[in-house]
Symmetry: C3
Subunit: 314 residues, 3 copies
């Protein structure tokens, strides 16, 4: 139940104990969101800066609310019209924000490794809010928390991740959290987007291009968003083809165990990777993921700040 | 003095008692804005989200300040670069925000009926901050509050609304509040923008295209903004023609009673619907409307949250 | 140690006593930024509006954090999509914001004199956050504070300001603060951007186009940002030529005293007006300037609000 890290950069480098510490702490903070007064003073007088070089409204709002509910002061800094557009380097931006006594820099960036790079110089706490196709650790944590909450464990579960694995930071962060905590992970999708080489990452990872095989026996099916605005033409013939080959619909739900969880990081493309009756069905935990995202982000900020859940008295 | 509604969607469905409850509560909150410390703890730990799918800086700021002065946490969510642009439905956006335990969704939307649609699924409080050409209830309330404050009553007053009635949500919300509280409403403007059919809404409504007739005997003249960026070419030959035929200037002020109020929802187009000497004259209450808008919005958030003015001790 | 002004519009009109009052007060607030809880209740229940008609992320963030750490409510108002774009005059915008009981308007504007113009009508406190090529008083104050902090005095120091003096509000505000407090100021840069007429402003000002002469004997060298996105073609042949003729590099550092301070208002253009080894070197105080900017802005808001540092107990 201890935490010694200055930053949260990825899940690949976390130990199972550290992952468990976040999950247990998030359970406490989830209760804060259910109170009449959704606020604790843990980060009063601390400064949190949302440095979103790549825009993302929903992730920004989740972090902003997490910080506000911890009573921190929050500043939103987007790349548009900012000094980054005037040619300032990211490192200089960091040093400027730290000169304002920023305590936390929540960094969203299009380049893989940007938060790791910054962390080499940082006095503040860097939290990776998504870096290129690399990792999105709080998403991985919230997905893992949601599974843990619903299934009571991670160890021994069969988790299928479906979609564009190749370019997905969500997939990578999920994979690391899940295998470290003892789950078996099956990756499925078009062969152009799910290369066999992923199996070399860890012995608990399996790749298949056969959807039925991926869905049968899964305890959890995590669907990735098809980012049709960013997808490479060569890897991806059309949205319609993806929907017909890999979209989760009522017919394919018959291959899925009735107690399996259906997950999606949102925002969902209804009729593309998921049909509405599945998204809104009993097995879907998509909205619980959103709720848990806030709890996990509060937990992360709290732990990085040196807090211990046992001191909270919640 | 009671309030039982979950949402504020329009004024058409409010009872006179409910309208009066808002007005009386707004009187209390107006005093908060005049204090050295303009803050009460009524909404501490609550989350207010400004969901402005259609942009509006001034309405957003008024709601944001109202929420801050009630000690709520406020998040601004504009449509640009948001998940709504990625194809997420409005209903899914609502469910996502509610999964973050949002207590209030302040919705500005270009489509008439959008807040009503959302309210069918909402656990949170939906406040309509303007929906298409339908209603802008807090604007109607602040206008009515301003008249009530200055005239001591609404019943029996003659209120003229002048301009583009056809496409104006401000006009509709004013009309409903005024007729419910017993005022007589005269609608005036170019015949293309003020169809006779408005008279069928309520027996206290009269339509005229004769400006002098509309102004003589009025206790209140409420000028609508000419939204020349949005006006249909067919309904509206030119700004200059509107100004010359319906603009309020010193000459036409002679038709207006010296104790009549001149109102405008802002921002004003000086020299178009109103001349500067009228806008800045003794009879103008345009800036009081802005002040009252904040008081009314605090009252609305407070009432929706279950508060009663008598408990405030202000 | 007294302060009686309603606004901070420029440094040209401040007395040496007033300048010193800001510097002494900023020393107190600098300590607030070094605490675990970076927050004082001095402006609780006050409303600060960042009215940035000309965008500037870094200045906005510094003011926003200053206000938050003083416990004020802060609203950001940028010109995009605002009523200013709908043709509202700046004076009407002021009156609208004051009708919301705004206590402070932080104004950034592209037109020289805009804050002075507004101050003629303002009930609130106007703070100039940069107006055209005129002044940027909090930048001048933070630069002066940084020199004072490091050198222990201003009087008798030789300060060289290098770059585009003609179009620089930073230069003007620095010049006024420095000469009033007894420093000698040397202005240097391309002759097209540093006209001799600046010497007529004050007998302590000297103009030279000889870089070596400007650097030798200086106690402080303040480099201005080359705003290549705004520079007039006629005044400025190329970035490369500027860098080769006036950029501060290791070779030219030999002309500079080893105890001289190197300053820059940021964001820096590495390789243009300053080489990286100079920017990151021992003599550079560029990041201290950022820290001091926050302290100075807290001091300014606090003093305008009628506060006295002696009452703070810090």
């Amino acid at each position: 139940m201890t935490w010694h890290r200055q930053h949260l950069l990825d899940l690949q480098s976390l130990t199972p104990e550290e992952l468990n510490t976040v999950l247990v702490t998030a359970q406490v903070f989830k209760k804060v969101g259910e109170r009449a007064i959704k606020k604790v003073p843990a980060l009063r007088g601390k400064t949190v800066i949302n440095l979103f070089v790549e825009p993302s409204t929903r992730t920004r709002i989740s972090f902003e609310l997490a910080a506000l509910r911890l009573s921190a002061d929050v500043i939103n800094f987007t790349a548009e019209a900012s000094s980054l557009k005037k040619g300032e380097t990211l490192k200089d931006t960091l040093h400027n924000l730290e000169s304002l006594n920023a305590d936390f820099i929540i960094l969203r960036h299009g380049a893989s490794g940007a938060p790791h790079f910054l962390s080499r110089f940082a006095r503040s706490h860097i939290v990776n809010a998504g870096d290129g196709a690399h990792e999105h650790p709080t998403q991985g944590l919230l997905d893992t928390f949601t599974i843990f909450e619903r299934k009571g464990r991670i160890e021994g579960l069969n988790v299928t991740i479906l979609g564009d694995i190749l370019y997905s930071r969500v997939a990578r962060s999920n994979i690391w959290a899940l295998v470290k905590l003892g789950a078996k992970v099956t990756l499925c999708g078009p062969s152009t987007l799910v290369p066999r080489v992923f199996e070399s990452l860890h012995p608990q990872i399996k790749v298949t291009w056969d959807l039925e095989q991926a869905l049968r026996g899964a305890d959890v099916v995590n669907l990735l968003r098809i980012q049709h605005e960013r997808q490479r033409a060569s890897a991806f013939p059309s949205i319609g083809e993806y929907a017909s080959l890999f979209g989760l619909n009522a017919a394919r739900m018959k291959w899925i165990r009735p107690d399996a969880l259906i997950m999606h990081p949102g925002p969902i493309n209804r009729g593309v990777e998921i049909e509405s009756d599945v998204a809104d069905g009993d097995q879907s935990v998509i909205l619980q993921q959103v709720t848990n995202g806030l709890a996990v982000r509060m937990a992360v900020l709290f732990l990085l700040n040196g807090g211990r859940a046992s001191e909270l008295g919640i």
